[in-house]
Subunit: 451 residues, 2 copies
């Protein structure tokens, strides 16, 4: 197989060029939520594939276009990379040390919006492709890239795109958009994502706000209606009270628990990083806390809004109140079920006046920890990271892995350049150049061994 | 007594000048909650008194200054007018047809923030003083004005000011800041105000917001903590669950119920005016609804704020949540008791993490419906309004009448220029010029007869 000394030497020698290419990509804003620069960024990404000889398409969707590229390789195996070119909004701007769309290199890190999530991953993977071309003259396996533009806005059109392009996207394994090392510098293999059902609950009780001295006594209060409806969904014991909510939940297997037990302790890190004094349900640390973190479905209030929210007092009874509510789902829950359960629960508990709007849904999905593709991704990492990957059977976050796992039938593995202080979705998002290089080395090895 | 033909003629002839003076006053913003223009407005008001020969003082308080003015009159009786120069915040600005601080005259109405609440009352009362000077050459009784700047922010420093100035404020009767006609064009005599205890409840569960996919599973959620704490205060049956909350409540007397029964039906008017489909507690109309409206203490959520409140979805677990909560109190409840009961209730229900900040408190207070001063105010209205005043023993709103009734020992009567579509506290606040003129005529008669 490939000569990794020559591959690594190529990558070390050409790192600056790759970072320069990444910087040009980061300098192109592509804020999906604000529809800013999406077409321009899709063109830029397609150009990056095309100049490397990939057969490249920009496929329109009802939202942002999907970029697809394919390059034949020696073996009859195909590796699919899933990436995204859209980024989170850069706000609040005043908290950035350097402007979000002017990539800045300092202390061995590159700063900028989207540098880690997810443009750095795309650039590092193409860098690995470059190294294989330079050393081998061609690619060991066929390589496909699907690079969407709606990952940060719930990948609304991706599922349909995948279903409509099953043949084009056919592959033998998929590398997910993200990955990286944990706080002990150990690379982590995330094998699945929770699903999500994100809804807005809203109540309107009157045409206008009313003076609280008058309306407060006899008119229904929108904020109270919302509070009571929310309190009916979950009490302080954290048990979610929707009928049938837990019915399809598959408990973690013995193998899952074995993997979870092998993971490092994170409780003190969490407490320090987020300023949290204690955890819910009386949990303190250990495997119980880690299992709770990913294998339990949740109902999280992400936002509340009603009436007067300024300084001091305003004596007003609000006509309208709303809440953003995020249910995280574990295998085999379905977001459609949750919306139905929620509507039924509200209706039967006297809250027919509370409207439910679905703002985003993804089914949960995970890959078998003992799949041979997972083993290959983990094995090829050892030489680069000098440590075996830690395997997490499921993570707390969500993403559109269900169409890849369930529709394309692919094993989906993670590998990436992330680090715990990477500040994805926050000001001063950054990547470490040493981890960028390691990710490229790892992906070069994976492609070389995928035969 | 006075020649009311000449008085009325003066008022009708000089209406435009008085409205011009009022417009200058409305054009001066004086938003207490935002500390906007308070000193400037106090100066403007003091100037309006001074130019009419009132001995005038601007008295500093720990908050906005109080303007006091006194003008001796012929009789040994003293009439005290209580007004305020502060106004509610003008937001939401986009709902105003003309800008809130650019008074606009159309369809016989003057629009602007504070035009009715309460600058129009001050201007109309000074207009009545002008008419008496013009016709009689002096004032029939001594007239005092106390014009505070914190009425819309719970009159935090007024009680202390009154207690420290009992001699200066000594009088024989007091006309309250507001009043007006109901939807049948009948003037109403409001004899008392409910008390208020306005608090902010807040919870902070972490140093920063956290991604809901991670923190949502194991960290305490500030919005949930707030929702559960609120839901513990009152359920959908509207019964307030603080220990001892109802202990000091005095039920309406037979005379109160007789007066309430004589009041007109308002249920359909309310439904149309506010776009409300039904009332709480299964109430539909009649005296039961009216008694509920004023003789029952309330707990109203005036505002809720937490986490993400923009369009679409953001998957975040909020570190902080807060609610503005307004308790309306009936005789003889005390705001201090409510704060204590609230703290005790939260602590004993597992919500020690929920902070309580008192933003304003007023005790309830009311005047005897059979007081001679009340009779005089009602009698002098008949000639102007061609109808006897309707007597309401208590109203739903609150205000600082307790120091006037309990500390100064004054009968407090209401008379004013309000009308049911005046939109106090809301966009497009307005007064009707015909009612402005009537209020001035009524107040001129009251001063003339107060001997």
């Amino acid at each position: 197989m490939a000569d990794y000394v020559r591959v690594d030497s190529y990558l070390e020698t050409h790192l600056n060029e790759s970072i320069a290419e990444l910087s040009r990509l980061v300098a192109q804003p592509s804020v999906g939520a604000q529809n800013l620069g999406m077409e321009e960024c899709a063109e830029l990404v397609a150009g990056m594939l095309r100049q490397r000889g990939f057969a490249t398409e920009i496929m329109p969707t009802a939202g942002a276009p999907v970029v697809f590229g394919e390059h034949k390789g020696r073996s009859d195996k195909t590796l699919l990379f899933y990436c995204h070119y859209d980024v989170q909004p850069p706000e609040p701007l005043e908290l950035w040390e350097t402007p979000p769309f002017e990539p800045s290199l300092r202390d061995g890190k590159l700063f900028g919006r989207g540098v880690g999530d997810d443009k750095g991953h795309l650039a590092a993977r193409l860098f690995a492709v470059d190294a294989l071309f330079a050393v081998l003259g061609d690619l060991p396996c066929t390589v496909k890239f699907i690079i969407e533009g709606e990952e940060e806005t719930s990948s609304v059109h991706l599922h349909e795109y995948v279903r409509n392009n099953l043949q084009k996207l056919k592959a033998d394994g998929c590398i997910w958009e993200f990955g990286g090392v944990d706080h002990t510098e150990t690379p982590v293999q995330y094998l699945g994502l929770r699903g999500i059902c994100y809804v807005e609950l809203s109540v309107q009780t009157a045409a206008t706000d009313v003076h609280s001295g008058t309306g407060g006594s006899i008119f229904p209060n929108a904020a109270w209606r919302l509070v009571w409806a929310l309190a009916s969904l979950k009490g302080p014991d954290e048990r979610i009270l929707l009928p049938g909510f837990y019915d399809k939940v598959i408990k973690p297997s013995a193998r899952d628990l074995e993997l979870m037990a092998a993971l490092p302790e994170t409780s003190e890190v969490y407490k320090q990083q987020y300023g949290v004094k204690s955890f819910i349900k009386g949990l303190t640390n250990g495997v119980d806390l880690r299992v709770e973190e990913v294998f339990t479905p949740t109902c999280t209030i992400c936002g509340l809004t009603s009436g007067y929210q300024g300084p001091g007092s305003k004596t007003v009874q609000p006509a309208r109140a709303s809440a953003k509510v995020d249910f995280r789902l574990v295998p085999n829950q379905e977001p459609g079920d949750v919306v139905e359960q929620l509507r039924h629960h509200l209706d039967t508990h006297g809250f027919s006046d509370v409207k439910v709007e679905l703002l985003g849904g993804e089914a949960p999905a995970r890959t078998n920890p003992d799949d041979p593709f997972i083993k290959l991704v983990c094995d090829t990492a050892v030489d680069v990271y000098s440590a075996p990957m830690r395997i997490m059977p499921l993570v707390g976050g969500s993403g559109p892995n269900a169409p890849f796992i369930h529709d394309l039938g692919l094993p989906v593995a993670t590998a990436g350049l992330g680090h715990p202080d990477g500040r994805a979705h926050a000001p001063n998002e950054n990547i470490r150049l040493d981890l960028y290089l390691k990710h490229a080395k790892h992906m070069a090895r994976l492609m070389a061994e995928f035969e």
